[in-house]
């Protein structure tokens, strides 16, 4: 079978699987719609969380990013995994004990304040929309590359699938579909990685091959060869850092803390039956994520070595077939500056001008082709990319839907609505959110990439400190929490907006405060949030006794009343 046929078959089969799972596990109550009835086993929830968390960016773009960043790519590797330690140790068990439906629920109840709840709802919706637009775009890109479908049509197909199982199934449907999607995406990621590792280093484990010797040159380590090739072509050495240490530190911290504050991840810990299950579930989630995250840097190094080895300096007439294929899509651009008919790929330190522009996404999308792997492996990458994008999109849409139906309607404007009406409202909100997300997928605002820094920065500067203090400080009151969140958000948003939109030309290390880039400023926003809320809290009265008892209560796993009230 040719590539196109394989891709249709594999993508079609995976979609049929998701729809089947969604029909089998559809939600019948608001408890099932928001938190899957709170009855998801820890391992299953861990797997669903992993799929929820790993987006189109993790699957398609991350290895490519690392490939071009070398050691500095570690900010993503550590930043997007280390947050789970914070989640497991500091947030998840207590949120589970609290046991409601949404993150704004916790903020609103703990800080006995509608204002706090509103700030939280606005943040949750903003963060989720920022993210979901990128996912829909990812779906469109995969469709257009592999199936020759226009990006718009690809987005529409993706919207249809997500609409079907998110609206019908709610959290329960999403959870079990995400389990299926995790299996598809991890298989799709590992198969090419194992093939390439075996080819390049003779070891089937990419994590070991990464530090192993080359199959073609026994005794020479892959990373040493990569350092040498990079240097010869005028790039920085692969295993050396290029960013300032303080910036690496702040970006890593912003991504970690941001991860721990993202509402679609936090809400997953409401879905397990017990506090102890919330703890272990975070461990399972990270284990499943780590399988991909320890493979990605290996793939990045193999891909880089392959690329530098094959096209750094060859006559254009002799370039391999994949080069021409991807040139058609615009992801590879060759501009023969010297007019000698040779492709010259050079780094900024080289005297010879660079003639080749390579989109970083190609590192995962085209890697199997570059390594000459069979068609079914290449097709698998398409199915995996779609699984990653769809699973994340669904989780985010659920956050938007529950924020609107539960936090704004039920807990805000219309407390009198019945459960049935709330469920209808949640489904309508999910449907509308799919349409808005699809619109942004088809007409992406030019700043999608920029606003991802926003999502993490805001989560780091708002949710994480507010929830953390809500659990670990009994004295923290609503005045402190609200002032802290507003200070953190305003500072972080102001810094990012200034450098990304108002003065993009100044977005260089010499103008940044203390050399901290907009990507890392969320960490400073978080510190500011802590400082402001502490100061305001000292000057205002302590929270009511009922709230202090509430904090006392969530710190203990065993509950006084029935373990679960949401099924009632």
């Amino acid at each position: 079978m040719n590539l196109q046929a394989w891709t249709f078959v594999l993508v079609g089969l995976s979609f049929a699987l998701y729809i089947g799972v969604a029909i089998w596990s559809r939600a019948r109550s608001t408890g099932e719609f928001y938190v899957a009835g709170g009855q998801v086993p820890a391992v299953i929830n861990g797997m669903a969380t992993a799929a929820d968390w790993m987006s189109a960016a993790s699957f398609i773009s991350m290895a490519g990013l690392i490939s071009f960043m070398g050691r500095d790519g570690a900010v993503y590797l550590m930043g997007w995994t280390g947050g789970y330690v914070l989640l497991a140790l500091l947030l998840a068990p207590y949120l589970r004990k609290f046991g409601k439906y949404t993150v704004p629920d916790f903020i609103g109840d703990r800080y006995y304040s509608q204002t706090a709840r509103c700030v939280a709802v606005v943040c949750a919706i903003f963060i989720s929309f920022t993210y979901v637009a990128g996912q829909m775009r990812g779906v469109g890109i995969v469709f257009s590359h592999f199936l020759n479908v226009r990006i718009e049509h690809g987005v529409l197909i993706g919207m249809g699938i997500v609409f079907f199982y998110a609206v019908l199934g709610g959290m329960k449907g999403i959870t079990y579909t995400q389990v299926a999607q995790y299996c598809v995406l991890i298989f799709a990621y590992l198969v090419p990685a194992i093939f390439i590792s075996a080819l390049v280093t003779g070891t089937v484990f990419p994590q070991l091959g990464f530090g192993g010797t080359l199959a073609s040159e026994p005794g020479v380590f892959l990373l040493d060869r990569l350092d040498q090739l990079s240097q010869e072509l005028g790039f920085a050495r692969y295993t050396e850092g290029r960013k300032e240490t303080i910036d690496v530190f702040f970006i890593t911290a912003a991504l970690m803390v941001g991860t721990a504050g993202l509402p679609h991840v936090l809400v997953r810990f409401y879905t397990v039956p017990k506090v102890s299950a919330a703890r272990s579930s975070a461990g399972w989630a990270l284990l499943f994520i780590a399988i991909l995250y320890t493979t990605a840097p290996a793939v990045a190094a193999f891909a880089r070595a392959n690329l530098l080895g094959t096209v750094a300096d060859i006559p254009y007439a002799e370039v391999p077939a994949w080069f021409k294929n991807w040139e058609l899509t615009g992801l590879i651009q060759f501009d023969d500056l010297s007019g000698d008919g040779r492709v010259q790929y050079r780094g900024p330190l080289s005297e010879i001008p660079n003639e080749l522009t390579i989109d970083r996404d190609i590192m995962v999308l085209a890697n199997p082709e570059i390594a000459g792997l069979p068609n079914w492996v290449v097709a698998l990458v398409a199915a995996g990319g779609l699984a990653a994008a769809l699973s994340t999109a669904a989780g985010l849409l659920l956050v938007i839907s529950s924020s609107i139906a539960h936090d704004l309607l039920k807990k805000g404007w219309r407390p009198s609505i019945s459960e049935h009406e709330e469920l209808v409202a949640a489904r309508v909100a999910a449907g509308v959110a799919v349409i808005i997300a699809g619109y942004f997928g088809i007409h992406p605002p030019g700043f999608v990439a920029q606003v991802v820094a926003f999502a993490f920065g805001l989560a780091a500067a708002s949710f994480f400190p507010a929830i953390l203090r809500g659990i670990f400080s009994k004295r923290m009151n609503k005045e402190g929490a609200v002032a802290g969140m507003i200070a953190g958000i305003s500072f972080t948003a102001g810094y990012i907006i200034f450098f990304k939109f108002i003065r993009p030309a100044w977005n260089t290390p010499q103008y940044w405060w203390f050399g901290i880039s907009p990507e890392g400023i969320g960490t400073a926003g978080m510190l500011l949030n802590f400082a402001v809320s502490w100061a305001v809290c000292r000057l205002t009265p302590p929270p009511p006794e009922a709230v202090q008892d509430f904090v006392e209560e969530i710190r203990i796993p065993r509950s006084a009343g029935p373990a679960h009230e949401i099924d009632a």
Partner: protein
């Protein structure tokens, strides 16, 4: 206000002690070995990896997974010791 009992305060203190220890480890493997002291560690090698590079791109992630599972076992034991675990 209902003052927490002595046992509960003790349980919370032991919990905080576990958190402090495990979060220190978390900080050392990532921010310590992977960022602040990466260049010093890079002078050592394991196989084809420079050690600092390995911590930055591989080792810290393995350590994170271990830290969470150690925490899970630690807390389950602590919950039973103080009789605050969840009854099935």
């Amino acid at each position: 206000m209902h003052e927490p009992t002595h046992r509960r305060r003790q349980y919370w203190r032991r919990n905080l002690r576990a958190l402090t220890l495990l979060l220190s480890l978390w900080f050392i493997v990532s921010y310590g070995f992977g960022i602040l002291f990466v260049d010093q560690l890079d002078r050592l090698r394991i196989g084809g990896f420079k050690l600092g590079f390995w911590f930055a791109q591989q080792g810290s992630i393995y350590a994170f997974v271990l830290i969470i599972f150690v925490y899970v076992r630690w807390m389950n034991r602590l919950d039973r010791e103080f009789d605050v675990d969840e009854r099935n």
